[in-house]
Symmetry: none
Subunit: 245 residues, 2 copies
């Protein structure tokens, strides 16, 4: 065990946020559910007086918010990333509901994982590239006629569900999970091998690496399995190099 | 059955609301979950421009909001009333959680009942007299250190839970899955390539193919993904064969 409490191993990551008020409301929503780590990736606004007004008693979360230029920085230590989106799209990982996401995250957190709940900007949400960095795409079930949840309302539901799941989660068997950075290195290695064997970059189902990424991420390989996969990739490369000589 | 749809037999009742913005955010929160009837009991403010701004696409709910002078007027047709409160008190009915409240309400609604979700003002919440008019006192579980949910955030959680309870049937995404035989052919193909690249059959973690099988099976690849993986295996074999010539 890392010693840090479960709720301290959850971060809310807001990317491209445009309204300072939403940052404040998000801080308040987080604090009501006992979650304190806020990451702001390339915000389009500063934290201002309206943020503080809407944060009410949660201004400590604003003061300790971490600013990042890129999404990978904000996700580096995370073992599981949940990307919230109202729009389903072809290349994203399979969508799960906020409740299933919370249960999945709670299991990971109680096994010492570090979890990110990721939300895009008010205007256009997350890009396909952002979604590709997440193991799970999450939708909050809404009316099909009007599904425009305010950003901080979406965060409120997400952290509420997570709190519900964490306060009843059974302890899962402990697995040693790779960090997001280790997974990125693995996928870079994958692309190298695909290039080595002259696989076309895209086919009927879209970008090959994105499809592989979705599949592997769904399997949640642990650290030993990730090492095994990299061992196979290295063996393929060695075999080709030797033959080429 | 009354003929009216289940979601139309739910009303949100706000009493003594002070912030016009919260009325707008509440309308938006309701509409995302398909609930349209808003009752305002002795509001301390008018619906103004800030209400409309925060309602976003839900201004129709503001336009059709029903104003009442007293709480009994707003609750007259209701068969069940759920009073939301952050403060437990002696004189109130037994507290249940928002999730249990939603399940209770859903049962009543599907049996043709008319349900009210009642929320007090931002400053002092509901009075003991108000609470006494409700069959159920509801609390939204929060952190014990900070439990100051914004009014519209509390409504958002309440209507979200109600929607979840009313639409319980889980729908699994339809995927075209490979047959067991196709999976066996895939794993045979895997072993062939592992042999081609001279991977040792077993390592620290046991039989390599068994570990790969466990990992891939956990990901539940669909038919297209299985074809993609076989495409990669074939590309590796072709590349080696060509180099060996």
């Amino acid at each position: 065990m890392s010693g840090r409490k479960a709720f301290d191993r959850v971060r809310v990551v807001l990317k491209d946020t445009t309204h300072p008020g939403n940052i404040g409301s998000t801080a308040r929503a987080m604090k009501t559910m006992g979650i304190h780590q806020l990451y702001l990736v390339s915000p389009r606004t500063l934290i201002d007086a309206s943020s503080h007004a809407l944060a009410a008693g949660a201004t400590d979360i604003l003061s300790s918010a971490v600013f990042c230029n890129t999404l990978p920085e904000a996700l580096a230590e995370c073992t599981q990333v949940f990307a919230f989106s109202a729009r389903r799209r072809d290349l994203s990982p399979t969508f799960i509901t906020a409740r299933v996401a919370a249960e999945t995250a709670a299991t990971n957190i109680t096994a010492d994982g570090e979890v990110a709940l990721l939300f895009g900007g008010e205007r256009s949400g997350l890009t396909n590239e952002d979604m590709g960095r997440a193991g799970y795409a999450v939708e909050i079930p809404t009316s099909s006629e009007y599904f425009s949840l305010n950003l901080s309302q979406a965060v409120q539901i997400a952290v509420y569900e997570l709190r519900q799941a964490l306060t009843k989660a059974p302890r899962a068997p402990q697995r040693d999970m790779p960090s997001q950075m280790q997974m990125e290195m693995f996928f870079t290695h994958c692309q190298e091998v695909l290039d080595n064997v002259n696989m076309p970059k895209r086919g009927d189902g879209g970008l090959l690496l994105a499809r592989l990424r979705r599949l592997i991420t769904r399997a949640e390989p642990d650290a030993a399995e990730t090492r095994m996969l990299r061992g196979v990739l290295r063996a393929v490369q060695r075999r080709i190099m030797r033959a080429d000589k």
